[in-house]
């Protein structure tokens, strides 16, 4: 999707308005403004979807109170008041959106604290988990891809491909539980199965407890990245300039590192970004599995407690990460691709 997006503005600027002599910076700024506008439009539509999926489908109050719904009309009234159910739906949406834009995320229904207070630390914890996983994953995935491309079509390549393919389809919680059984409960007892963090302390202060969540996320994401980087590498290795480099007598290792790898980085940005964006969803399950104190585990708890304001805020954060990562990836690939840069500015 991102690649298509990057191409459309380029063609439109050339066909719509032929402005000669316009500086590259202006063209660049226009492209960026358009791309940013699209991201904001997407987020706005996401907010509509989030609000109406949680507030309009089903009956939140009946879900919250369960069996108490019939027996305690006073609690029904309190909740109706708290969710402003007496106001029309559209009015409630705009109130909620206004609050969201001014940083007021509402009040949690289950413990009556402001949502922003409840999730502040958790956002940081999740960010740390995702970043550490990405930092571990990227070199591993590129390494595997390089080994695989080096042995293209031969046995090591086949073995790597089959293993990656096998891992690619397996759900992350399956991988995670197998790790727990292997490292903490059944076979070995070397790593903690759950994240234990005392109040106010970040989970990274107890690095042992972060090993399994990070490992699980790395295993879930690496197969996709490694497979695509490998095929990009193969494409580059088949190109004329790599052939020329080989003919000049440059050793194969240098060809791989300097000529192939550097040229495979740009297409790989998109794939890494897509996987990072996927991590935004994958953390829901992995955090729940390891009781990691992040927004994913929070989301599962809030959904179970029918804590609508929390669910809405957390969904917007996760969708925001997703949209943001894609935006950054688009900008980076434009910046790193001279041809795309000229296409925008010409």
């Amino acid at each position: 999707m991102a690649q298509v997006k990057t191409e459309t503005p380029a063609t439109e600027t050339t066909t719509d308005e032929p402005r000669r002599g316009r500086s590259a910076t202006v063209a660049w700024a226009l492209w960026f403004a358009r791309r940013l506008g699209l991201a904001i439009l997407t987020l706005w539509l996401v907010s509509v979807l989030v609000f109406f999926a949680t507030a309009a489908l089903g009956d939140p109050i009946r879900a919250i109170l369960g069996k108490d719904y019939e027996s305690s009309p006073s609690r029904v009234a309190t909740l109706e008041d708290q969710l402003n159910l007496d106001q029309p739906l559209v009015q409630r949406y705009f109130d909620w959106l206004g609050g969201l834009l001014t940083g007021d995320l509402g009040t949690s229904l289950s413990n009556q604290l402001p949502v922003s207070e409840l999730i502040g630390d958790r956002v940081v914890n999740t960010a740390v988990l995702v970043l550490v996983s990405a930092l571990v994953m990227i070199p591993i995935a590129f390494g595997i891809a390089m080994i695989s491309a080096h042995y293209r079509g031969r046995r090591p390549d086949h073995v790597i491909q089959v293993v990656l393919l096998g891992l690619a389809g397996v759900p992350e919680f399956v991988i995670g539980i197998l790790f727990v059984a292997l490292f903490s409960t059944t076979v070995l007892h070397v790593l903690p199965a759950v994240t234990i963090s005392a109040g106010g302390e970040g989970p990274w202060q107890n690095p042992g407890s972060m090993v399994l969540p990070v490992l699980t996320l790395v295993f879930a994401v690496t197969p996709y990245v490694a497979r695509i980087v490998r095929s990009t590498l193969l494409e580059v290795l088949d190109s004329d300039y790599v052939e020329l480099a080989r003919l000049k007598g440059i050793p194969e290792g240098v060809v791989m590192r300097k000529h192939a790898l550097l040229n495979a980085i740009v297409p790989s940005i998109q794939v890494v970004a897509l996987q990072l964006a996927w991590l935004a969803g994958g953390i829901v399950i992995v955090e729940y599995l390891f009781s990691y104190p992040g927004i994913g585990a929070s989301l599962v708890d809030s959904v179970r407690n029918n804590d609508i304001p929390m669910v809405q805020a957390l969904s917007m954060i996760i969708a925001g990460i997703y949209v943001g990562v894609n935006l950054i990836a688009d900008v980076l690939s434009i910046l790193f691709t001279p041809r795309a840069r000229t296409a925008i500015t010409s």
Partner: protein, 280 residues
């Protein structure tokens, strides 16, 4: 075009594809286990065979209530199988319709449809399901089908549109239009059959993700039938016993893992087959 024909040579090609064959065998075994399982289970789904997490009952021991783990694994596959297959079918049909429509009508309609599609893509798949489940007291099985299917549709639509775009400008579509055939007939009879290979591969991939998502929702504790035997739910129920007797968790985990490996191998095999077909 790289369509998979049902002719003899086509079948022979299928059986030369080792990944595809391996995937089909693995998938068939798990599906057979899920379908036949309830009949060959040594104990009843809810039968108490002994104390919780002990070696009573069959060789896998007992679960958190003292029910037989093996019997529950055998009994718990049907729901996941049916829900995943239906969700995949729903997502594929919905996505193909959206994608074909966008590619064939084109213009601003295409632009608007695909922009809305991008919005749907900004949601991690599991998030959509969780969003709706937060406002529901007790999820019903058809809700899971709808939610998982709906989360697939935009992803399928993108692929279907891309493949169809390459086809609608072809000569055979133009000649069908010149013959005065209706638009609906052109899309269904001319364009769609030529998309079968990439769409089949996509269906295999979607099925893999469906199984993962349906099982994950059970694992997160959202059950359509609390207490009933279900692979995803079993993992959630028996988590506390992992230290004592791991089979209540490991048996369903392994079955789900093997199942997804099988369907993913099928998806990859079809892709390889289509690539070879396109080359020859």
């Amino acid at each position: 075009m790289s369509t998979i024909t049902a002719t003899g040579s086509g079948l022979r090609r299928v059986f030369h594809q080792r990944r595809l064959v391996a995937g089909m065998i693995i998938t068939a075994l798990v599906v057979a286990l899920a379908i036949v399982g309830p009949w060959i289970a040594p104990y009843g789904e809810h039968e108490i065979v002994g104390k919780p997490f002990t070696h009573s009952g069959s060789f896998l021991g007992s679960d958190y209530l003292g029910q037989d783990v093996l019997s529950r694994v055998l009994a718990g596959g049907r729901s996941i199988l049916v829900i995943s297959v239906l969700a995949t079918a729903l997502g594929m049909v919905g996505g193909i319709l959206i994608g074909l429509l966008a590619a064939y009508v084109g213009g601003w309609f295409d632009e608007v449809l695909m922009r809305l599609n991008d919005v749907a893509l900004a949601f991690p798949q599991i998030l959509l399901a969780l969003l709706v489940l937060s406002a529901v007291e007790q999820p019903k099985w058809w809700m899971i089908v709808l939610l998982v299917g709906a989360s697939h549709a935009p992803r399928v639509a993108r692929l279907a549109r891309g493949v169809a775009l390459g086809l609608v400008s072809r000569d055979f579509v133009a000649s069908a239009e010149a013959l005065g055939e209706s638009k609906l007939r052109i899309v269904l009879a001319e364009v769609l059959p030529n998309m079968s290979a990439p769409l089949l591969a996509e269906a295999g991939l979607r099925l893999t993700y469906s199984i993962g998502m349906v099982a994950a929702l059970g694992f997160l504790g959202f059950s359509t039938d609390p207490g009933g035997a279900d692979w995803g739910l079993m993992i959630n129920e028996n988590r506390l016993g992992l230290l004592v007797l791991p089979w209540g968790v490991l048996a369903p985990v392994i079955v789900i893992g093997v199942f997804t490996i099988g369907t993913n191998l099928i998806a990859d095999g079809i892709t390889q087959l289509a690539e070879k077909g396109a080359e020859s």
